[in-house]
Symmetry: C2
Subunit: 522 residues, 2 copies
């Protein structure tokens, strides 16, 4: 816009009020593609402690080793690389995995979205928020808990698309249990492509499903699938590869990992650990084992395709030692999170962990306590890719509609927190203090008037009104207000434009593939 256009219709330059209005409008519509933190990462261990854990992880890899099950190709690759392979057990010499990773793995990478302004930069000082993943159930106040369906899946894709504080569409937001197991990946991937223009995750439950994801991504991105400079595929899919802790990779996950890694698509290699069952009951022991397992998987990716993008993942919950049930939002997993994030930085790879985890069945105080006690550590630790930011209930068994918008609100606050302290002159606000002086109030001073619209994070769900007003409005709790908000949001949803030819090609691919084999629920 040239200078002349900045002159208003009355032929004069915009006045202060108009300028302020423009700033407000820009701010109101503000949506960053991802967070770039301006405050330090929180670290609980010193260099000595971290080095001890790294040394112990190497001891695990060297002495005990990792099993790569039912995958002779993987064993051959490890053998050729110099590992000691006995049966399915692979033992790696000290330092081998770290060297393989540090030689070629990118410290950060861009995951492309079909809308390039939504591309996310994963790694470094950046944090990407994605919805929860993998629930067979949904929960809302109207229906309670029931099995999830593909229409729920679409609803959550839409809600994530609308949420300014989520940067990513996620993956298996919930399991569409109404569709056959061996075909539901088509509809899930298509929903992400159709109802959102944010980056998304791929199917990992079978190598063929991973291939379908890659094929559909090629259709969606067209020419943009290949980077014109490098000639290699752009990274357009990020996928979750869980390790079968302790110390085991199974053929399903290895199959999907190989498809994605070879296609230059990113894998999040995540030891999935309920400490006490899949790892020792201690923080240091759990971190050590997580590191060892992740090192093995990440080194394997670099052996498959040097330079392939990947993320070190850690999912660590503790177990109730009375009941055996997983617990969330407790202090031990937070400590594991801080340690793992720091270990990933030392290794030089992007890190995934945390989210808004909870064990509560409903969006009550327990859910909120536990979620906040996970999300804040996630943000302070410096996690780069955060799955499960919104919707998680019941240890991941249910995706909550109310919980989703409540979590998005909290995620919004994290944007402000990670922005840190403004030390500009306006931030210092000495003039405001001079203007007001002792015993007066700041409500009407010039500095407040210039800043109040954008001064503080505004929650759409918190009720800060007086008790009397809250009572007059029906004594609603946060979950009830959240129930209204997600319905309002879905009612206002507008689809992002998608080239009809691309849409048709996607549907054609899906339909042809679906018709090519029988439905199955295995």
């Amino acid at each position: 816009m040239d200078d002349k256009k900045a002159v208003s219709s009355a032929g004069r330059r915009p006045n202060a009020r108009e300028a302020k209005r423009a700033v407000r409008a820009a701010h109101a519509g503000q949506s960053v593609p991802y967070i770039t933190r301006k405050i330090p990462c929180y670290e609980v261990l010193g260099v000595e402690g971290l080095a001890l854990i790294e040394k112990n992880a190497d001891t695990i890899l060297e002495e005990i080793g990792i099993e790569f099950r039912e995958d002779p190709e993987a064993l051959a690759i490890w053998k050729a690389a110099g590992a000691d392979v006995q049966g399915e057990r692979v033992r790696m010499p000290r330092g081998m995995c770290r060297e393989l990773i540090q030689a070629t793995a990118p410290r950060e990478f861009t995951q492309h979205a079909r809308n390039p302004s939504r591309n996310v930069l994963i790694g470094g000082p950046n944090t990407v928020f994605a919805p929860a993943y993998g629930s067979p159930f949904i929960y809302n106040l109207d229906e309670g808990r029931r099995y999830a369906r593909i229409d729920d899946f679409r609803n959550f894709v839409k809600l994530a698309y609308q949420s300014k504080s989520l940067h990513h569409s996620g993956g298996t937001i919930c399991e569409p249990v109404d569709l056959p197991v061996n075909k539901r990946h088509f509809d899930m991937v298509y929903s992400h492509m159709k109802y959102s223009d944010k980056a998304f995750m791929g199917s990992v439950t079978h190598p063929e499903r991973a291939k379908d994801t890659v094929e559909m991504a090629k259709i969606l991105f067209g020419d943009a699938y290949i980077d014109p400079v490098t000639g290699r595929p752009n990274t357009v899919i990020v996928s979750l590869i869980n390790v079968n802790s302790p110390m085991t990779y199974d053929s399903t996950m290895l199959g999907a990992l190989k498809v994605y890694a070879r296609a230059n698509q990113a894998c999040i290699v995540t030891p999935f650990i309920l400490a006490g069952a899949m790892s020792p009951v201690t923080v240091a022991g759990t971190a050590t084992q997580t590191l060892a397992e992740a090192l093995a998987g990440m080194a394997f990716i670099q052996l498959l395709n040097p330079g392939a993008p990947m993320v070190l993942g850690s999912f660590a919950s503790s177990l109730s030692m009375q009941s055996g049930a997983p617990t969330f939002g407790t202090p031990e997993p937070a400590l594991v999170l801080y340690v793992m994030a720091h270990l990933a930085r030392r290794l030089g790879v992007p890190f995934r962990s945390g989210g808004s985890l909870c064990a509560s069945k409903i969006p009550d105080a327990q859910a909120a306590f536990e979620s906040a006690q996970t999300l804040l550590p996630t943000c302070l630790a410096g996690v780069n890719f955060v799955l499960h930011v919104a919707g998680w209930l019941e240890g991941g068994l249910a995706m909550g509609y109310e919980k989703f918008v409540m979590d998005v609100d909290q995620a919004g606050m994290m944007h402000t927190l990670l922005e840190g302290v403004d030390l500009s002159e306006n931030g210092q606000a000495l003039d405001a203090i001079r203007e007001v002086g002792p015993g007066k109030h700041f409500l009407g001073c010039a500095h407040t008037l210039a800043n109040f619209e954008t001064a503080f994070y505004r929650s759409p769900l918190a009720d800060n009104n007086s008790f009397e007003q809250w009572e007059a409005e029906g004594r609603r709790d946060m979950a009830t207000r959240a129930n209204e908000l997600w319905k309002k949001q879905l009612a206002e949803y507008v689809e992002p434009p998608l080239d009809p030819a691309v849409d048709e090609a996607l549907l054609d691919y899906m339909n042809r593939r679906k018709a090519s084999f029988a439905d199955s629920n295995v």
Copy 2:
């Protein structure tokens, strides 16, 4: 206990199982008098940013100054110390307040409790948790919200006494509105002395009431009131002195401050700020003003009684700029908290801030989100004295019974968090990983069996059971479970022993004083 007594009744040394049982018993009854953190403080600003805020605070003190209202003695003291006094406005030369404080203020001090094993060390790496303070209302699920009474006050003293995660009995836990304003301090102070043996806070609403608190403390502590080494009074009372921000000390608070400081009792000098009303809308501006105000009050204390114990306090909430209502658990106050804690460390004085603050009227998800988003920053920032850890609802207007026990649960988790990562051999747990190996589980391994009873924090309120079990048990939310817990706790309350002669002397003092002037509600 000598070695022989460690031999069991069967005439043999205790075996491994017995030893383990003893450890468990000790752990189950474990109650630390305060937390000594083993993890670093989280800091959001670098040295340059902090120095800028310190410089600006000095600019406020030098240019604008602080008003000391209706207190000619205070003005005379400032004048004699070299400050520029114009009317009630006191302007301090750059660095003056800091120098006064750093010359004589203790970096940490012990507040004595009548049970010496409950003494709290305030300052340094230590954190002391106290209940919420100052609510005129109570809230519980049975009665909803109503005015607080002295029996509520006693209930909360009892609950705090029983709570292993609260180290302090607090002060005006709730306002006993059924008692006359000018006499209720007697019953409040007596309740702390009688129903708890933890350290407590004094009355600040009138200098005479501060004097009554000191007199009753002298009766309670008897000979132990005076330190035999120094001949000075032990610090047995900590009191909350709020600044009338911006930049004003009123005669009520100054009156109480003078009584306590001269008696060597500790004051928490706390600018009470709703940012946007009592300070600028920015984090840096609010921190700058808080520091300036606190510096003035703390320097004044050192002028009154060099070496008197004191605490730098900060209460900073933000304002909803739409409604003017205070908001809690938002990111801006958390940033202020991190900055102020760091500034206090640089100054070399103990710091008070944070708690489990929220705006919610009820113990719902909003209350939990906001409380967690305050308490966790409080703990990570390194706050030394934490008021409002338990019970706070509705911006401090109501003390919640359910909220109280929910907050105590969270406070318990903070103990584990601040304990950090155990890097002992048992913590490293390499032998456990060796024993179990790939693909197995840790539930039955020797390391798990040796550690599981104390391995993870156990919440008395979180429901981690299956959905089906939770449903069978009545689909109770956390607040409902909390309702049962506080009633159970009160039913189980046992009074700590108090010398009947001391009790009688306290009652006698109270009754004589009460009879000496008419009831008043002013």
